[in-house]
């Protein structure tokens, strides 16, 4: 199902990243495959999310996509060209197109530089704008991310987490990129601020014609934003599907477990069924066959001995499971929020009524 080159902006081909593990006197004894032979195609203009629990390699994959890390094996293609073989100089030039937003807004901005200097810097590197033009653009970008232009002379420590993340986004936009990779861009923020930053990213994506690649572990964020979603487990992509497909009918047992882990805001909807037991196995010594088999309720001998490959599962989705067909047929469909009880419905109705009577208070634009 390889797409024509014009449609895909980034492609990975069996990209692998190994980190050295234990070191002994005679060199490195073991390696951790943080990302293991991942092949993805990211389409121009889409919002592509990568989801998985802690330690599954999603941040490593994000860094591989923009060559903040060098792949141990495989290739990462941007616009059809392998960026892992580019020279340092060529790669620096290419960074105009590929920008990155970090998870922690408190450590991702140089404390010694003013906000203006931080946002101006990518323009200095990648454009030939004059000083005055750059200043004007800094003010414009600050406005775009909902901050006042006068903030340019302040330092990052004077801002809140949400504001800093907006600064980080403005900086990422400054070079006029085509792709922005966000490594959990909102997970360090308060929930109320998360929504603002997410909406900002969506607006900017439309305005600047961006392709967004988001790494997240928060399923609500992913559900809200993504066009397509890749689910990662222990360094491998186990399922890749469109947003609705994945949430409505997850195929891989791991995806199903993830979906079942979403808290439901209703006491009647909670099930006591254990979702997943055990911990993620050590990536130093991954299980044989399917990496998920020790924790999978559907595992068979085949899963222990043979590794499933990512295969077509109808429509626009792929899944790496030997038994996805049977599981999909037998198991009940995905979680759905159960209907509200009568009393709860009344309360909600009342609340809605009251809140409409009052003048809606205007929340600032942080």
């Amino acid at each position: 199902m390889s797409l024509p080159t014009a449609k895909k902006i980034i492609e990975t081909r069996a990209v692998t990243k190994r980190f050295p593990g234990k070191k002994t006197l005679f060199g490195t004894a073991s390696f951790v495959s943080a990302v293991n032979e991942v092949s993805l195609e990211i389409r121009r203009g889409e919002t592509f999310s990568i989801v998985g629990e802690s330690g599954c390699g999603k941040s490593t994959l994000a860094r591989l996509l923009v060559r903040l890390l060098h792949p141990s094996d495989g290739a990462v293609l941007y616009e059809g060209n392998d960026i892992s073989t580019l020279s340092e100089t060529d790669m620096r030039r290419l960074r105009k197109d590929l920008q990155f937003v970090f998870q922690d807004p408190f450590s991702s901005l140089n404390p010694r530089m003013t906000v203006g200097a931080l946002i101006e810097e990518p323009m200095k590197v990648h454009t030939r704008l004059t000083r005055a033009e750059r200043r004007r653009k800094v003010a414009e970008l600050l406005g775009k991310v909902g901050l006042r232009a006068a903030f340019a002379n302040r330092y990052p420590h004077e801002f809140s987490g949400g504001q800093r993340q907006r600064i980080g986004i403005a900086r990422a936009l400054a070079s006029g990129p085509k792709v922005i990779v966000g490594d959990e861009p909102v997970s360090a923020l308060d929930v109320s601020v998360q929504a603002q930053v997410i909406n900002l990213l969506e607006d900017l994506k439309a305005e600047f014609d961006l392709t967004l690649i988001l790494i997240a572990h928060d399923l609500a964020v992913i559900r809200h934003m993504s066009d397509r979603i890749a689910v990662m487990y222990l360094g491998e992509v186990v399922e890749l599907a469109g947003n609705d497909d994945l949430f409505d009918r997850p195929l891989h047992p791991y995806t199903r477990a993830l979906m079942r882990a979403i808290p439901i805001a209703s006491p009647h909807g909670r099930s006591m069924n254990a979702t997943l037991t055990g911990d993620v196995p050590s990536p130093l010594d991954p299980p044989s066959g399917c990496r998920f088999h020790p924790r999978c309720p559907h595992a068979t001998d085949l899963c222990v001995s043979e590794k499933p490959v990512l295969g077509q599962a109808g429509g626009d989705r792929t899944v790496a499971c030997h038994h996805w067909k049977e599981i999909a047929d037998t198991a009940e469909s995905a979680v759905r929020e159960p209907p509200r009880s009568d009393t709860a419905a009344k309360r909600f109705a009342l609340f809605r009524e009251r809140s409409q009577q009052q003048e809606p208070t205007t929340a600032g634009n942080i």
């Binding site: 030039r93 960074r95 991702s108 901005l109 140089n110 302040r154 330092y155 600032g364």
Partner: protein, 293 residues
Amino acid sequence: MSASIATSETVEEEAVRPENRAWKKLKTNRSALFGFVIVIFFIGIAAAAPILPIADPAATSWTAVRKAPSAAHWLGTDEIGRDILSRMIWGAQASLLAGVVSVLIAVCVGVPFGLISGYFGGWIDQTISRVTDALLATPFLILAIALAAFLGPSLTNAMIAIGLSAMPIFVRLTRGQVLAVKTEDYVEGARAVGLTHFAIMARYILPNVFAPVLVQATLTVATAIIAEASLSFLGLGQQPPAPSWGSMLNVAKNFMTQAPWMAWWPGAAIFLVVLGFNLLGDGLRDALDPRES
């Protein structure tokens, strides 16, 4: 939320450029100003030595050997009857030069090596670190004496020798700081923006590792002034009869009981200069850190 932050006093501040802000902060820091005044005072008298109405610092007098402070000799005389005030003023030149220039040499050579070593790691780091270890294994003074002897006796060579001997401390200090700062997200962010290694080191790492280096530098000024004295004593520093505070102190220790004033003045001067540099250095460190308000 922006409304609550943009209060009236911050609006005025917005026009202030970052450099002005640092200067403003330095000016309001009393101890830094005090340090600044001390340093300027000594630099002033050192520079003005030739035009001040004082005695010849090398003129001896057999009638005024080891005389206590008096109207004729305000700070007393030394073991061969030279005026101590005059020698203090002329000696300020040699001592300040020995203190400041050698530390500048140490910082200018040591910090870049430390930066490169910590930033690039690998065999570059291994090479620089091992050489630094070897230099640190040799006692500071022995190394300085060896270098000064090799370069030949003169104040300039003494400064170079002291600077090179003090350098390894700065290499190691900087390297350690770089290793800590290097893991910060903003350094990776600088790479993501497409900056060159040089730009990352200059704009992202150096400003964030400089605070402890500055403190170390002000403390090393004292060590350097004393080291110059030791070299003078061996005939490798300031050439007699030209004075330096260190060499004056060195001679004075033989007459501690008979003529304690011979030790007071150079000792106090070294103390004050070091204090001055230290206060100034601390003030600079705080003024340059935007997080300190």
